[in-house]
Symmetry: D2
Subunit: 314 residues, 4 copies
């Protein structure tokens, strides 16, 4: 049970995209926000009861699944996703106060952010060099102190959190980029079904026989369950072995999803349930009649009547 | 409940292949055997409680499914198959006593039997004409009376049931031919699971969209359920609309079969369960681990733990 | 090459549904019409050059595929279907002149026709007995001579071909029933593609492994080829072995159909091509862009460029 | 055409894993080796004819596909993979000469290498901090100059390329880790088929309709083509849109592979062919008879005979 004032671990410091995501969580403003240095630390806090929740980035529209997050979740099956949050990803270039754009020679940035601004940098600062940083906000804050860089890639609100000058805005290559964050807790009940839900799992193929992936996908198709994400991640024990990170439309309390999960569990015992939770975009899937809860309830009653020789079976 | 001495309807008279099939039923010798003229009459007797059981031909290895039987079962969903029996199909040519083979000009035979002896007849009696008959035994018995034919195609034991001379043996085109019979009752519990069982159903596709048959077959494939028979029968309301007569390996009390039946019921509400019963040939299917009862029980427990937030779900 | 005045074999006598189908063939009125007793005789005539064409019934909307026709075609791979024709199936009850309906006790009919009028007969002539006949027209014509029956089931135009009285019309159980006939020749080129074509084949599964039928159907699905008929027929060598009679939308000169046929030939070498021919109902299938001829031509050019290192491959 | 002494771009400096991979290329010792700073630069050199070849890392057994490489290849369809090379991935910890392990506080390493040694570092240097580096060899070489770190993660042969002391060996978390490199050129013919080949492609689904991935995978399954790699990469224009990086068993000159590629091209016009090339591990796939070149040649001849009315079609 979460205490009255739950603790939330997030990739800090104040001002990061993760911090913005946490700001979307209803009721979180009353909790205690714990800034950490990386996803692993956030999840460890939850596993060891130093936090009730962790907010972590799980996917972004440019780079795809966040590998470190996916791998950490695959190995900590007691964790549960209980919510998802979308944050638009926009970048500015911040300099030490008074430094104009044309005198910038070194740019500090987290590797992911750096990759998303490459086009702008090549055009506007063709001779710059890159200084890798732990987080963009941290890079902006420490420029003046450590002198490692004279500019930093940072989120738009950076001037509230660091003494810097913004010399260029919207420097990201893709104006529609966004990052998907999830709120994670240890165990517990899934949030109640809303009708606009998502279920996340991680599955391994049972063996290397050809066609196994096809068979796995048919477990969903035969129950009318759509996938909104399918990512492969190497298991790491040998070249060519994968696990699959999958998001499904629907909730574990939807009959079709429950049936598909059981089918998948039989097909592949190495199956991790990450959670069922309301979708950030509120989209409600169209569920055809054969896959509705009613159809499942009817089929169970029909089978039961047949098995017991009851006349309804006729 | 069947009375102490149940009644069995069968296509008579004494001596037919159906009569031979009924002879294989354990305990039937104590019952009352009711000879009828066709399959429809046998099933009507059961539906209206004039017999407890009917023995009917459902498939033969030369002609395939017996259409009349399949169509009758599709329209009488309260009937249940409770056993299957295989009878080798061999034919002799019987004549009126004293008639030699080379003086035969007309041959009486049931249409199906006639079709199965065509090669022999064309070679040995190239100028004969065919007199259609209601049953082969009946044809042999009535030759002397009605004078419609001077020979009849008949089962090997015909001399016990009619005053005829056998002038040729093994005149069937295929020495391995056999017919599958099923014993049918009204409603009731399926016979107990033996581990070597068969389940028969009749299913309609939900609509005419392309790929529907593929989708139906995937309902079996994803549960590891094999088919030993798949026959199409026109529904009769329009050209190109079919129902499918299907035999599955396994019993309705096998988890994988029950799950496939429920999947099929959701996919296609027009589904008739004909019964689960011991296989005549005693063959026990190999069931791979993901489709075993254990796998289903485990998956249900796993799902339940996840839904209730119990630690076993982890 | 067909002579100036080709010969057409058909199931006679004049007035049968087959005779009606032949009347639909453009130009057939100038040819010689050869009446035969059964489908086997019609096909033999073509195989031995006694006729250029045979008109045969291949499917009806009540009874499904005509087994004898399907089996005969499976074993005569040099035959080619070159056209299809639909004939509405309607029945009347004809009696010997002067015999009223209420004095009828015996009804002559071909087995298929008899089956299609059963409901009417049970209601209106509950005590009649059935006299099997070679063809309905023949039965009507011979009633007066042989005295075997005092009524016959016959096609509506029977009074033009026999001296009978029609005592009841539309006695068939299904007012929309129709029979599909095909015109067959020996070898030769397929009729030209019209855009509204059908291709008929007979295929055997390569072996009994589970899932083979599913694999076969996927050969069509991956090329966007729809089936309008799928019937199973026992091969006859053992219980549970089938061949499949299949009608496809499209012509062998359609790229998607040709590609599917080659895929099927590799999958199952026991494949009989029965022919490509214009559809009787003139229906033109919607072919999605990936399955159009253009898509195939483009893909071949793309592959060729890649294989030869040409820049278009890029 | 490559000049007498071709130029090879690789991620330098001398001593990197990429440099080791290049050492495996037969004949490369006579060429000119061009050290570059990242994969993008290596590919640009090939595209602009500053190098004939580039050696690039494409997959590693711990982290999976190298995103930057995959994305670069997806956008440069004129590039062709002509060979693959496997390099075992082992790490040592190198310090400035004379620095013992227990006095290390800062560790320089490329992010990927750092991730692969985390377990060892947490156990042996729990209080260290990480200094991100462009390449491990570069980090080791620059330690003495820039003073940013007092240890570096480096490949085993580092002492040949830098003035450092190795204080720990085999510090990687996974002793079987390896990286797969590919040699890339611009356009040209694929290397000749060896019977142990691999074909790499990048495909986009044609649209977001459910089941599209299943349909794509069936293009391979129906031709008996196995996948040895399937990775999803976001396209980057919107959340939830992916392209798939796929390795197939076989060569574009294998009939089954060519046919699958054409099928895929029709299904999804956005298809990039990366190349067919000998497999590093020399594994020859088992090709079942229906998928052999002979089966394809036979099917084409059969179809041609049918289309032209030749008697072989029968």
């Amino acid at each position: 049970m979460a205490p009255k004032e739950p603790r939330y671990s997030y990739l800090g410091p104040v001002g990061t995209f993760t911090w913005e995501a946490l700001g979307q969580v209803s009721g979180a403003e009353k909790g205690e926000w714990v800034s950490v240095n990386n996803v692993g630390e956030a999840l460890e806090n939850v596993l060891h009861d130093r936090s009730e929740y962790a907010m972590i980035a799980i996917e972004n529209s440019i780079e795809g699944g966040v590998s470190a997050t996916q791998d950490a979740l695959a190995l900590a099956p007691s964790l549960r996703i209980v919510g998802e949050y979308l944050v638009p990803v926009r970048f500015v270039l911040a300099t030490k106060p008074g430094t104009p754009l044309d005198s910038v020679t070194t740019v500090a940035a987290h590797a992911v952010a750096y990759a998303q601004c490459r086009t702008w940098l090549e055009k506007n600062l063709p001779r710059h060099s890159h200084v890798p940083a732990r987080s963009n906000v941290h890079a902006a804050q420490s420029m003046s102190d450590d002198g490692l860089a004279d500019a930093a890639i940072a989120p738009p609100g950076i001037t509230q959190h660091a003494d810097v000058t913004v010399v260029a805005e919207n420097i990201g290559d893709n104006p529609n980029a966004q990052t998907r964050f999830v709120l994670v807790q240890k165990g517990g009940l899934p949030p109640e079904r809303t009708g606009a839900d998502k279920t996340s799992i991680i599955a391994e193929l049972p063996d290397d026989a050809p066609g196994r992936l096809l068979e796995m996908l048919e477990q969903f198709a035969t129950r009318g369950v759509n996938m909104s994400l399918l990512e492969s991640r190497p298991i790491g024990d040998a070249m060519g072995r994968y696990r699959f990170v999958i998001d499904l439309d629907g909730h574990i309390d939807d009959e079709r999803v429950a049936d598909a999960l059981m089918g998948l569990r039989r097909f592949s015992p190495k199956l991790v349930f990450l959670g069922s939770y309301p979708r950030a975009n509120g989209h409600r899937p169209d569920v055809a009649k054969p896959y509705s809860d009613d159809a499942f309830v009817d089929a169970r009653a029909w089978l039961e009547a047949l098995r017991t020789g009851s006349p309804e079976g006729a």
